[in-house]
């Protein structure tokens, strides 16, 4: 198979940044986005909660994950925008993952490649 022309950008970020992340994506003309509600932890490993005196260790924290697939040429500018939009500067701001994507196919028409994005 030839080298992938598309990249999936996954960005885990804090819920309160959603408005800015979404707005940034609109501003730089990313047409379609998917947002997941996810739970997880990084190095920090959560916190302690108390119910009727009983301690409960909570190590999975709720975050959001943005998933978009874009042409390789647009990846850097999108990553740069995401860093600005999702960052609060505190611990737990999240991660960005870049994954190669073999192809994109639109279900309604069967179009492939750049036309399907």
């Amino acid at each position: 198979m030839e080298t992938a022309k598309f990249t999936m950008i996954q960005c885990v970020f804090k819920g309160e940044r959603l408005y800015d992340v979404q707005k940034t994506m609109e501003d730089i003309d990313v047409v379609g986005i998917t947002i997941w509600e996810v739970k997880g932890h990084g190095r920090q490993k959560g916190h302690i909660e108390h119910y009727r005196g009983l301690e409960t260790k909570v190590n999975l924290l709720p975050k959001l994950m943005l998933e978009i697939v874009v042409p390789n040429s647009e990846v850097e500018i999108i990553v740069e925008s995401l860093l600005k939009a999702a960052r609060t500067g505190d611990i737990g701001d999240g991660k960005i993952f870049l994954l190669p994507v073999a192809d994109v196919i639109r279900v309604r028409t069967g179009d492939r490649g750049i036309k399907a994005i």
Partner: protein, 407 residues
């Protein structure tokens, strides 16, 4: 036992029972305040709302027993228990319980305005100061032992011919609560993310069913609030009940129309009508009460949008428009629709109503401004940004509303 003394016994017992019936109904309103706030905040602040309201209630009980009630009425409870009971079935104690239910409404109102970002201790402390001092001071001027605003032979009555009339507390309770809340809300500043770079970004409430439940509890309890303000059984008035019903209907219906059937506005519109009718509920015609309530519903809907969108006051539950503005309207409305020419029973003065209402607002704003300012400068009133983002449930109570969902 001879007949007259046994009849007296029944009269005292009936009065005590009547007051306690009202008190217990108003007590249920506090469940209403709790759920109205719990529903109107985001998921991360539910536990805080549900913990603040009963804590404020308990603190109010203590400070009003020790300080507030004695200030307003000159009655203390430091004698022997048998003396407190007296020979009237403990009427003073029942009266204290009944009026405590009013006094404790003050922190419950404020709580909804400062929600989601205030520290726990300062909220409770400010509530205690208001219930111990600010509220009883004005209460005493209108209902209590100071012959100034309310009394028929008081200072204000001497000027305008009739004293300040506030039957069940549109001004004494609601305007006082709403205007005490305003300086706190302003000093606290808006919640993070509410207004960003000139944009208004509404922070969504998490539960319409909770808001509905809270509002229903308030509506039902309100009939104790207004009807039992008769204070003794022989003074009970069906007019008060009918006026409360019609004002509630008016507020609800005008909110339906003005807000285009927005459910949360509809539920608050009913409350706006009830807030406004308290003052004149014993002297107005039911159709006048309908009008007073309908206008209150419009004041709330328009006032809420004006305060939150235009003035950018982040009043989470709209307590200033609901209690502050509609309460003030209620006080003034009693001085309009109370006149015989408008179908009322008379014995009121428009200028007394206006003076009483403005006095309340002045006392509330100054008292609250000073109190919150001192607490802000010494201990601080607001959660840190990290605590606010995490939510007051976790940062103050180290637990969330639905622990089972932790995974």
């Amino acid at each position: 036992m001879n007949v007259p003394s046994s009849l007296t016994d029944y009269v005292s017992a009936g009065n005590v029972f009547f007051l306690l019936w009202g008190a217990v109904l108003i007590f249920s309103m506090h469940a209403g305040f709790a759920f109205l706030e719990a529903g109107s905040v985001r998921k991360k602040n539910i536990v805080n709302a549900l913990t603040k309201i009963p804590t404020d209630w308990a603190v109010s009980t203590v400070v009003y027993f020790l300080i507030g009630f004695p200030i307003a009425y000159g009655i203390t409870f430091f004698g022997k228990a048998s003396d407190l009971l007296g020979n009237n079935s403990g009427y003073d104690l029942a009266h204290f319980f009944f009026l405590l239910c009013f006094a404790a409404v003050i922190p419950a109102i404020i709580s909804g305005g400062v929600a989601e970002r205030m520290k726990f201790g300062p909220q409770v402390l400010a509530g205690a100061v208001f219930v111990a001092l600010a509220y009883p001071l004005f209460e005493g001027l209108v209902w209590g032992r100071f012959n100034v605003l309310g009394a028929t032979d008081g200072w204000l009555a001497g000027i305008f011919g009739a004293g300040f009339h506030d039957y069940a507390g549109s001004v004494v309770v609601h305007a006082m609560g709403g205007w005490l809340a305003l300086p706190g809300i302003l000093l606290l500043k808006p919640r993070m993310g509410r207004y960003v770079n000139g944009d208004s970004r509404p922070l969504q409430i998490h539960s319409v069913p909770y808001v509905a439940l809270g509002s229903w509890l308030l509506m039902i309890g309100w009939f104790g609030f207004n009807v039992a303000s008769a204070a003794t059984l022989p003074n009970i008035s069906g007019l008060v009940a009918a006026n409360s019903l019609l004002a509630m209907g008016g507020g609800l219906l005008s909110a339906v129309l003005v807000s285009k059937r927005d459910s949360v506005f509809v539920y608050n519109g009913a409350l706006a009508g009830l807030v406004a009718v308290c003052a004149g509920s014993d002297i107005m015609h039911p159709l006048a009460a309908l009008a007073v309530g309908a206008i209150a519903g419009i004041i709330f809907v328009k006032g809420f949008l004006w305060a939150n969108e235009k003035l950018r006051i982040d009043d989470v539950l709209g307590v200033w428009p609901l209690h502050g503005l509609c309460g003030a309207w209620g006080g003034i409305a009693a001085g309009i629709f109370g006149y015989e020419q408008l179908g009322g029973i008379g014995g009121v003065s428009f200028f007394s109503q206006l003076t009483g209402t403005l006095t309340c607002i002045a006392i509330a704003v100054v008292f609250s401004g000073v109190t919150y300012f001192i607490i802000k400068k010494t201990y601080g009133i607001r959660l840190s940004p990290q605590q606010e983002l995490l939510g007051s449930d976790l940062s103050i109570h180290s637990g969330k509303a639905y622990p089972e969902e932790l995974i």
